[in-house]
Symmetry: C2
Subunit: 151 residues, 2 copies
């Protein structure tokens, strides 16, 4: 299978990854959440090649994750902002951050920590079932197949 055929898959993991699953894309989104909006800033912070950056920004815009906004007429200059779809990606990043902090050894202290905007207290993201409040993990959840074709 080719990577770009992924978006046609029925599985939500595959569809999600067809948007954010290639190299750099999630790092671009991380920077968006840290307030980065402009091409030069992304490029400098990430060390990504300009070529690839332009491509990823285009794709994220096409997917409705980022929105391109003109911030200067003449010369026309654009910046990139998270759409609601993009902002809704935050929980995925937070889950990933949690996992990495628990399991991928770091070379030093993390450059930022997550605090409540409200109280300033450190937060510890945790996944629960919105209906029951029970914790959700591989022990409590089961994948129920709809039809037996592979996902």
């Amino acid at each position: 299978m080719r990577w770009n055929e992924l978006s046609k898959e029925a599985c939500p993991v595959a569809r999600g990854l067809s948007v954010v699953g290639d190299r750099w894309t999630m790092l671009i989104l991380r920077d968006c959440f840290l307030g980065i909006r402009r091409f030069e800033q992304f490029q400098e912070r990430l060390g990504i090649t300009r070529h690839v950056l332009a491509d990823r920004l285009r794709k994220l815009e096409a997917a409705g994750v980022l929105q391109r906004e003109r911030y200067s007429e003449r010369p026309a200059r654009y910046e990139y902002r998270l759409t609601e779809t993009g902002k809704d990606f935050y929980p995925v990043l937070l889950s990933l951050i949690g996992w990495a902090n628990r399991h991928v050894p770091s070379g030093g202290p993390p450059p930022f920590e997550l605090v409540s905007r409200d109280t300033g207290e450190r937060i510890e993201p945790k996944l629960i079932d919105g209906n029951t409040g029970d914790p959700v993990n591989h022990r409590t959840v089961r994948a129920l197949w709809r039809d037996e074709k592979t996902a």
Copy 2:
């Protein structure tokens, strides 16, 4: 920057992605959670080339996400199972599934749904702060920088 220099970054997003952030890796993990354990099965379900699959399995093992277990002596045959580190990745996949279901249009009904092992009821994963129980998202959480160097 080169992709393989990512693991040296201090940012947990970068470190996490240094393990799971390339093409195919998260799809392999998805299949692991669906019970797949063997090379041939991964290869057939994913349509990944054998070459790349072997490489990814090796890397996941090296990262402590999968464990290689001999299931046949003579001929020596191995299968791959999630370690505790691997199992703990489940919330990341669930978050991604939620996002994709909300925002990436699908070509049909999803091939599986997530139910409680306990009650059989559909579950709706939601991220909260483990300390306060408050919902966690881009509006309620702030990244607090430790030092101002880029992440």
